[in-house]
């Protein structure tokens, strides 16, 4: 059987693409580089939108990236069920592209923050979280200046009601996110966005003091293999 192929997108200013590709590889899948300026998803089975400062994030994080040729392909594919994971800047892009509701705004503390963060997995039924248990607490790094999740009251209520809050900060909210939200999913559960960085927590030697990020990649692999 061929290895599952997971696309890793590079925009101008993307920073965590090599980490994302490494995490995909360590999990046993094949990372496929995707370039923002191509109208081409290269037939991948899933897509990882990594973190960074695409276009410098000068305007709003993710605002410019979401108009790239690649996103023209990715948006309909995601709507049709392609599994997509956006972390940090990738999450911001998914929100800007309206694949996920709400928006990410300046951290409440007004500073960029890099730290190891406790997170509770609230929903273990998405394409990217099935290898976790609901209620499981994990540790992943966060590193961002604009990660405060906001949405209007109705949207928030709907997210909570439908179990679409996938991750919540525990042991302190790093950015003032509403309802301590760290990550959410779309209605179908194939598109997941979160601020923390699973790709920085897959090896003992480097990165965060945990390998809890591996669960994201084993989850998607199982799903692709069983599909």
């Amino acid at each position: 059987m061929n290895a599952a192929r997971v696309g890793v997108v590079t925009f101008p200013g993307t920073l965590d693409d090599q980490d994302a590709a490494r995490a995909v590889r360590l999990a046993g899948a094949e990372p496929v580089p995707l370039w923002h300026a191509d109208h081409d998803l290269k037939g991948v089975d899933a897509v990882f939108l990594p973190g960074g400062f695409s276009y410098g994030d000068y305007l709003r994080c993710g605002a410019i990236s979401r108009f790239s040729p690649l996103m023209d392909e990715l948006i309909p594919a995601a709507r049709a069920g392609l599994p997509v994971l956006g972390t940090c800047n990738g999450f911001q892009i998914l929100c800007e592209a309206h694949l996920l509701p709400g928006a990410l705004t300046r951290n409440g503390g007004l500073h960029y923050i890099c730290r190891d963060q406790g997170i509770r997995v609230e929903n273990a039924d998405t394409a990217w979280t099935s290898d976790f248990e609901a209620g499981q607490e994990i540790v992943l790094p966060v590193k961002h200046g604009e990660g405060r999740y906001v949405a209007d009251t109705e949207t928030l209520a709907a997210l909570e009601r439908d179990g679409r809050v996938v991750f919540r900060y525990v042991g302190g909210n790093p950015n003032g996110s509403l309802n301590d939200i760290a990550g959410i999913t779309n209605e179908a559960g194939n598109v997941v966005g979160l601020m923390p960085h699973p790709e920085h927590a897959v090896e003992e030697l480097t990165g965060a003091p945990s390998v809890d990020g591996r669960g994201f990649f084993t989850s998607i692999l199982k799903r692709l293999v069983n599909a």
């Binding site: 200013g13 920073l15 400062f53 960029y112 923050i113 965060a208």
Partner: protein
Amino acid sequence: MSLDSVKRAAETPDEPMPYAELGMKGDEYQRVCDILGRRPTGSELAIYSVMWSEHCSYKSSKVHLRQFGTKAPKSDALLVGMGENAGVVDIGDGWAATFKIESHNHPSYVEPHQGAATGVGGIVRDIMSMGARPIAVMDALRFGGADQQDTRRVLPGVVEGISHYGNCLGLPNIGGEVVFDPCYIGNPLVNALCVGLLRKDQIKLATAPGPGNKVVLFGARTGADGIGGASVLASATFEDESQAKRPAVQVGDPFMEKLLIECCLELYQADVVVGIQDLGAAGVSCATTELAAKGTGGMTVDLNLVPLRDPTLRPEEILMSESQERMMAVVTPEDIPAFMAICEKWDVPATVIGEVTDTGRLVMTWDGDVIVDIPPGTAADEGPVYERPFHEPAGQAALNADGPERLPRPEDLRETLLRLLGSPNLGSKEWVTSQYDRYVRGNTVLAQPADAGMLRISEVMPGAEETTRGIALATDGNGRYARLDPYAGAQLALAEAYRNVAVTGAAPLAVTNCLNFGSPEDPEVMWQFAEAVRGLADACKTLGVPVTGGNVSFYNQTGSTAIHPTPVVGVLGVIEDVATRVRSGFTTEGLRVVLLGDTRDEFGGSEWAHVAHGHLGGLPPAVDLEAERALGSVLVEAARDGLLEGSHDLSDGGLAIALAEACLAQGVGATLSLPGDDAFVDLFSESTSRALVCVRPEAFEALAELCGRYEVPCYGLGTTGGASLAVEGVFEIPVAELRETHAAPLPAIFG
């Protein structure tokens, strides 16, 4: 509008030129006239004045810095030494590392955010220009007193600038320093370090060989950044039309720099670059003269072709502009299309502005007129060299005589420890470091608060050999020690950085340095400088680590009051198998805690004297480089043999602070007893050549044996475990209390 062409200069030999306003001395100006056989044009004067400035020509420091070469230890690792954009060392398995530290002090005082940000940007371009991929940054920072008003303006801005620029580039920040002392109040020190990796067969140099090759300027467009001096020129010499005040502040665009990094690496990969130079201080002047001087010797440049952000710029302003995020490459005509295609892919503007020649002249035109026609080497390499007078400062002997012996020593050592641990210099730097991304690129093995940053080497360059190796880096400096004795102070800075690298298990290999001093025109400052350089060069020789490059920052003074002389030293080390790295502090329960090295009664310049008494006098702790080297060997071998479970160096605040930090690393306490008979000296003396390690009980014998072999004294202090730091008969402090105390000072001041 009249243009000061070479022709016009020849016709108007007596026209007065504003050389003094540009910081040039009369005899320097006369030398330019002698070189050219006529008066310089405005544009030529622009070039010579920046190239012969202290900053670019090292005219006051050169005669001293030579010692780094003449006293350099023999080292097979050195691939590129001083004089290039950055030194390059062989780190094994076909890999090379390039690293350098540089100051951006004054700009960071004027506009903290942009000053610090562009400091990072500048040093990163230096590393890129060697053909390397930048892989990490560090920042050594010094501010006025933590409670002084202006520190509240400068520190948050500086940290934000470094955070924004470095994070946006995707370079992990793996270490640095934050030091407070009132002597830096009007002169904060912002020293930024960058390290890069490359295949050792792919080093690039700043050279423009091959007549007919094209000169390409690429990156950001040129604006009026940092050309205060040039506007003097433009308005004083010529009928001015729009000589509005030009800004001194350079603004950085990290996004453009990130594109430049990726673009350069693809250019190197495609092998379409003959020579390359970053544009830093002195911009186009520096890049063209240096490239031409190191190449075939000649170059033509059409300045009209330089892409401008501000279309009103005059040629002499273009020559002096310090606009950021620009590079200059020399490319063969055949490779130009491929070069341009890569730039286009990365959205990086690129323009051919000239050509390499073999005429021995750098010739520039503007609107068809020749406005520069000079031998480039005279600007780049043959600047003035001063043997500035120096003598020991008047108060030096009195300062050294006023030792810490007269200070009353404390009864309550618990309180003393907490007071030191909660002081701004020894408290947690997390307020700063949590604003820096330490994870990006996924190769960070150690970062703050470890003693040194460490990176594994992997996947950065196609075609490179796989390796288990890693590199470690630390920077250190102690202005108080250097004030008491600049010769020893520089050596102590080196010794501490060396030790910080060694405690992680990496073998120290090479040195970079940033020498921050007051005015070289003050003979007392010049003495401090000369002593520091002599000390550092001597110590590098003894420790066997060559200086590969660095930077000198003079004029860090307000009125006639200079900062403490502050040599900041960066050491790079290599660990053969990065998996054997030693983590910081007490990593788990049930380990034997061992103190390596001897403790003497040494408090001159110490944190205790500073915090408890506001006292600075006497002599700094004795330097013992042989002991330092032996300690380093023990640490590196012990790590390699898997003996060490944790380690930490002893420095500011002595054993007491090292123990507290070791407990805080993983929240593991310890129960210990002291080796000596004076608990105060044991705990707070700052004797050098000491480190703390912890080992599994069964490994203790092997460690002791190893120490015996290198004649490193070794004392078992006790065992890790429990929730407090208990020192028998002295105090017991809960780790939680240590943590609270340690975490408090910076948030209390900066929010």
